[in-house]
Symmetry: C2
Subunit: 325 residues, 2 copies
Amino acid sequence: MNIDMIRAAEARLRGAVRETPLLTSPALDAIAGRRVLVKAECLQHTGSFKARGGWSAVSALPEADRRRGVIAYSSGNHAQGVARAAAAHGAPAVIVMPSDAPAVKIANTRALGAEVVLYERATEDRDAIGTAIAAARGLTLIRPFDDPLVIAGQGTTGLEIARQAAALGVTRAEVAVPCGGGGLSAGIALALEAEAPGFRLRTAEPEGFDDTARSLAAGRILRNTRLSGSLCDAIVTPEPGKLTFPILAGLAGPGLVVTEEEALRAMAMAFAHLRIVVEPGGAVALAAALYHSDDIEGDTVIAVCSGGNVDPAVFSRALSMLGDA
Amino acid sequence: MNIDMIRAAEARLRGAVRETPLLTSPALDAIAGRRVLVKAECLQHTGSFKARGGWSAVSALPEADRRRGVIAYSSGNHAQGVARAAAAHGAPAVIVMPSDAPAVKIANTRALGAEVVLYERATEDRDAIGTAIAAARGLTLIRPFDDPLVIAGQGTTGLEIARQAAALGVTRAEVAVPCGGGGLSAGIALALEAEAPGFRLRTAEPEGFDDTARSLAAGRILRNTRLSGSLCDAIVTPEPGKLTFPILAGLAGPGLVVTEEEALRAMAMAFAHLRIVVEPGGAVALAAALYHSDDIEGDTVIAVCSGGNVDPAVFSRALSMLGDA
């Protein structure tokens, strides 16, 4: 993995993904006690940054492989990113999804033309299922984070952050990023190392699923004890990735950890002050920026809101935290 | 009013307002039966296009007038736009708001440092109240739509639409715009006449408050019979403006009219497929694009989502239309 792979991915992604805006609000600055810049990846095609990695991987496949098709396993956002890229490249796509994924993500994945295979998150191994189907049908498996082409695609978010922050005159900042397997965090960390050396990456995770924070502190990969039951479904993975963790260990600061309630409150703040829809897992970095100020350094924090695919009932629960005002 | 005033406003607004994105979703295209481009002005500073008109008017004031201060009457979005511009220019601001405006708009206007004066929408005349306070305290009244500088500011939205659509290769389109007093519609119509002559402006209004549609059909200004009681509070005005109506009569196609339920469904679609927060009045153009296809011509419709300041209870009501999926 290196910055040249991210730059090459950006060239392949041109015209296929959006440069998402960097949003601000005086109300958020006041809560955080410092300037808050929000990278709104929930406005990306398919509603999350996963459209980048999916496109990066599918667009780099040899034509013959593409024609046979691709397979991915995903709680939903990677599914949609791969499905969209496959459809645009005329490649068949099979997506292996947990049965407890938000209904909206399963429906949207099917709407993108993919064949969806459901599995039980707590008892079945999605990697084994994906590998078996891929072998049987000659499909290329696109892993959600431990794939250099996927990491490179997610890293294009970091190239945009570096350019957009520079345009605002920001030269030093902490960059908080929702972290599951670490593809987005590792990609952004590499991009910032090359393009914005005054920025430091900070992973953000929900309490109880803080494998990356604990692994960064320990200096080796540690596993989560629970693998389901989080509102932040998009960023629940068993442990940091084999490719992503060494990158984060070298470049990231200590991991940030927030409660589910803080993630819901951050969703409510994004609704009221930025008018964007963020899903719980996508809101953990903003939650850290707003409610864990003491764990963050400097006068500017950049929070990536990584996705916005959330069931209405969960979103209404977040809104209930605002009361009538 | 002419295009040069809009271009001059754009120069004054540079760096002070956002170029909002033009969003797309295959799901929306499928519902509408044609390509749908959404101009997401809900992502503008203060959550609506009114930040443009407010900035345009305040930034053009002579220094002495600015120091005495400004006054505006508004259901909420113009209030915030003027309050933000006044605060940034060091000008005191008094805002006259209806007592039934969404609590979030009243709170946000106060948070921007303005003094808020409440009035009864059904029985009191806000123009008379505003004029009286302005005279007593030497303030400059910034009208919400019948002011050339305000129309010019809102028209900068049209300059952006013309450029962004051209970048996508769109040369013919209908442009649907939520219409209250007509400042945004008239400004965009003038901008498109100059910069995108293949585009036609279409006003969009809620049923029962369709003064502009009826006035366009009659060729003269007609009044609404009711002045309150709409969910689409942001775009309820007694009648089309004296400056805006002649512009629309010359440039706009027939007015589009949607039900409140269609506006709520459009909000739900924007939540699920664009991940943006739109208020009922701001969603009427998208509602027309999605649910009144037969009233629209051509293969591309551009819908302006003009604002996103909505109380959580109303937003949850819109989400309930999605069911569990």
